[in-house]
């Protein structure tokens, strides 16, 4: 794995057919966020702006982002927060108005923030809230510290829960599992680069879905409708194939994507975004087949956004990206969201949908038997208890023990989480 193909042909869409009117902003917050945003390559998306936010003015100066915002000077005198997320939170609250201005008119926000750090952990939930209030759809990609960094880890979990309240979809990227990325003898740095690449592909997929015309088109309204709830667990995966059976290979790689096989990742999605990009030779029949396969795999509900784009530069390669979310908290009141955001939620969330039931529970029941039975979905089941119950389960997605109500904590570590993940042992398959 060499460095020069780190971001292969990300920019494979021609800018001419970009759909005007919709604005997206990628916001990198804190150290990890800045390095992620610098890794992205979206030169071709004219409506996508980059914003770097940090308290550390020196780090900010080095960033490649087009727009920069330093905050908290009064608190930190331009240095880092030293891991104090309460400090960052206080500081960012003071800059609310500036941020509101920056978010004005933006429809789609991608937050990139490492939640183990002070700045990322403290500021990300606040910015997510402000973005939501401004009416934007918010996707967050958040690296999490290793589980052996115990205090940072528990702080990150706190921030993650906070962020989940506001963002439409939060895709956690635990460092533990990022080590599983890449080839058999990839170094830690290469693994992180690979993960960054995947994030970049994910954002690129969503952007191209929104801004480009494709073979099967979806517009922003569809995307917003599918994801316009506060999300519970999410899933995010990427696969690529090449050659004669490119699309099959891509599906296979997608299903093996390490990011889909983490203890915290949902196995079912209420809202699912599937984006397939391929060369001119991509057949409609194969697309259909693959989309229904992926749909089954993630037990997707009625909110499916499926997009297919043809790109001549792809040759015989096919890329598949999936992003899914379970809307577990649909039944719970959204009191902690500011009024403006609530309007946004209510607008697209008619009353009848309030008790939208998740497939997560059924998935767990199934996981012990491998028969995949297609049960009629009782979506309209308005049962508050069931909702609370599902939420409880969802909070504990820990592999095969995910359905148990209590965590198996020993000396600060959850023993139900695979040992190899916690110990950073790379499993090459």
């Amino acid at each position: 794995m060499s460095q020069d193909n780190l971001f292969p042909q990300e920019t494979n869409f021609s800018p001419e057919n970009e759909i005007p009117g919709i604005r997206a902003k990628i916001i990198g917050i804190g150290g990890a966020g800045l390095s992620l945003i610098d890794g992205l390559r979206f030169d071709n998306f004219q409506s996508v702006e980059h914003l770097a936010v940090d308290v550390d003015s020196r780090a900010l100066a080095d960033s490649l982002a087009g727009e920069k915002l330093s905050f908290g000077r009064r608190h930190t005198r331009g240095m880092g927060t030293g891991g104090e997320h309460t400090l960052a939170r206080k500081a960012i609250e003071e800059e609310k108005d500036v941020i509101r201005k920056k978010l004005d008119g933006v429809d789609l926000v991608f937050l990139l923030a490492g939640l183990g750090g002070g700045t990322g952990g403290g500021a990300a939930p606040v910015i997510a809230r402000l973005a939501r209030e401004a009416g934007a759809l918010v996707f967050a990609f958040t690296p999490l510290p290793f589980s052996w960094e115990k205090s940072r880890h528990s702080m990150a979990e706190e921030c993650l829960a906070d962020l989940r309240k506001f963002a439409n979809a939060v895709i956690p990227l635990p460092n533990d599992s990022l080590l599983q990325m890449g080839g058999a003898d990839a170094t830690a740095l290469e693994c992180f680069a690979e993960a960054g690449r995947n994030v970049s592909k994910g954002i690129s997929a969503i952007c191209s879905l929104v801004f480009r015309r494709g073979m099967i088109d979806v517009d922003f309204v569809h995307l917003r409708k599918a994801f316009n709830r506060r999300a519970g667990r999410t899933l995010f995966g990427y696969g690529e194939g090449e050659g004669e059976n490119a699309i099959r290979q891509a599906v296979r790689e997608l299903l093996l994507c390490p990011m889909l096989h983490l203890p915290d990742v949902s196995k079912a999605a209420d809202a699912l975004l599937i984006l397939i990009t391929g060369g001119t030779g991509m057949g409609m029949a194969a697309l259909q087949q693959v989309s229904s396969e992926i749909r089954d795999e993630f037990k997707a509900g009625e909110h499916i956004v499926f997009g297919a784009h043809v790109d001549e530069n792809m040759g015989d390669r096919v890329q598949i990206t999936v992003l899914g979310a379970t809307d577990l908290e649909a039944g719970t009141p959204t009191a902690d969201v500011a009024p403006a955001a609530r309007e946004v939620i209510d607008e697209v969330l008619p009353k009848s949908k309030v008790a939208h039931s998740s497939k997560l529970k059924r998935e767990i029941a199934k996981s012990t038997h491998k028969t995949v039975s297609v049960e009629p979905r009782s979506k309209k089941k308005d049962d508050l208890d069931q909702n609370t119950f599902e939420f409880m389960e969802a909070e504990n997605q820990r592999g095969i023990f995910g359905d148990l109500p209590s965590r198996n904590i020993y000396a600060g570590e959850d023993l139900d989480v695979p040992a190899y993940l916690r110990r950073g042992v790379k499993i090459a398959i």
Binding site: L260, K370, G399, I400, F401, P418, I429
Partner: protein
């Protein structure tokens, strides 16, 4: 007249029922045995009462059918991470004027030791007596000896009320009485570690599907027991996630190809997941399987080593470490245990005279229950002057346990 006794273990992977007949001469014959997959339990605790009960009931039914008899009461194994052990101590001055120790002295010491009540919402599961000290010397049976003060202690295990009641309900729903609750680790070590080993000092580790139980013996008595909520299911779960295969395939890979320690012979070998090389089948390096298992098993022993910190004394553990339970079948576990715990570990073998069909490590606990029960039944006549019932009956059983086997 022969007696019928039963034993039930509600295990995480299987519910097992065993029926034994104790002949007049004290010889135990296993006359019925059945096991049923148990889907109502995770990590040693009942999560689905009806499923667990159904598994136990059908195992009991089959065992009764096989034996042609019925049981009225059973010994029930208890495990789960909710169990906590404490050392309780009590002492009493010898009351009689001639300074001969009387049973009543022991009784007073025991009462004092057991005075401490468990916390709110918890119940004692098992009191295991540790050595009796007569004026500071360890004695097997002080009754009738001269001395001024007796000390005794109990390794007492208390557990969550709710969890224990659930297990008891499973049995009472089958119209059976639970004669006694016995700690799983004590049951399996009763079976696997003979009196010599216990005297020499030994650590018995029972690697189950849901949890790993251990019991440390020193000078013939229990010094510590514990439950680590990690078992074979965790290995399966790790494999499922690490290799990205469905759980049933992960289980199959574990059983057929699992090794806890890398073997140079396997270098470069690939394993087919489903095995028939059909569409959807793919191969994975054997090393990946070993790696996943190794990390988990090593961690398990590391936790155990932490739990037993300060108790693993080379002079007190001459018997080494015995591994039993289904997990002990995994090749390489004994090497890892030896390396991490620092004492020679080996797979425990059953004493002779056990039906080879029954003599599987996964049956250690349920067989141990029966043998524990056998000791109980074998008592009458041993210490004639004592009353048989109530507290004393139980107490005497404890005294008897240390003395015989």
């Amino acid at each position: 007249m022969s007696k019928i006794i039963g034993a039930v273990e509600i295990g995480t992977s299987k519910a097992k029922a065993l029926i034994g007949e104790v002949a007049e001469n004290g010889v135990l014959n296993v006359v019925g045995m059945a096991s049923r997959p148990n889907e109502g339990m995770r990590k040693g605790e009942i999560v689905d009462f009806r499923k667990a009960a159904a598994a136990v009931h059908s195992a009991l039914e089959d065992a009764e059918k096989m034996s042609g008899t019925t049981v009225d009461e059973v010994y029930l194994a208890q495990t789960g991470s909710h169990l906590k052990g404490n050392m309780l101590r009590g002492s009493a001055s010898v009351a009689s004027s001639d300074n001969r120790v009387d049973v009543s002295d022991l009784q007073r010491a025991a009462e004092e030791a057991k005075r401490r009540k468990p916390d709110e919402g918890r119940t004692y599961v098992h009191h295991i007596r540790t050595p009796i000290l007569l004026d500071g010397r360890i004695v097997q049976d002080p009754v009738g000896m001269f001395g001024s003060k007796v000390d005794l202690g109990y390794w007492s295990i208390d557990g969550d009320d709710h969890a224990i009641k659930q297990a008891l309900h499973v049995i009472s729903n089958y119209s059976l009485e639970v004669k006694d609750l016995i700690l799983s680790s004590i049951a399996s070590s009763t079976m696997m570690a003979g009196p010599d080993l216990r005297r020499a000092g030994t650590l018995v580790i029972d690697m189950g599907a849901g949890v790993t139980d251990f019991a440390l013996y020193r000078q013939g008595f229990v010094a510590c027991t514990g439950v680590i909520p990690v078992g074979g299911d965790h290995v399966t779960g790790d494999l499922s996630m690490g290799l990205r295969v469905l759980e049933p395939y992960a289980e199959k890979l574990k059983i057929e190809h699992g090794k806890a320690i890398a073997d140079p012979i396997d270098e470069g070998e690939d394993i087919w997941i489903i095995g028939n090389k059909t569409i959807g089948d793919r191969s994975i390096p054997r090393k990946a399987i070993t790696d996943v298992i190794h990390v988990r098993i090593a961690e398990l022993f590391e936790i155990m080593s932490k739990e037993l910190e300060g108790l693993l004394d080379p002079d007190e553990l001459k018997g080494g470490i015995l591994l039993t339970g289904g997990g002990s079948l995994l090749p390489g576990v004994e090497q890892i245990a030896t390396k991490i715990l620092g004492f020679t570990a080996r797979r425990a073998s059953f004493p002779s005279g056990i039906d080879p069909e029954l003599a599987q490590p996964e049956n250690a606990t349920v067989l141990g229950l029966l043998h524990y029960g056998l000791e109980d039944h074998g008592l009458p006549g041993r210490i004639k002057e004592e009353v048989e019932t109530g507290f004393l009956g139980k107490f005497r059983k404890m005294v008897g346990l240390g003395a015989q086997v």
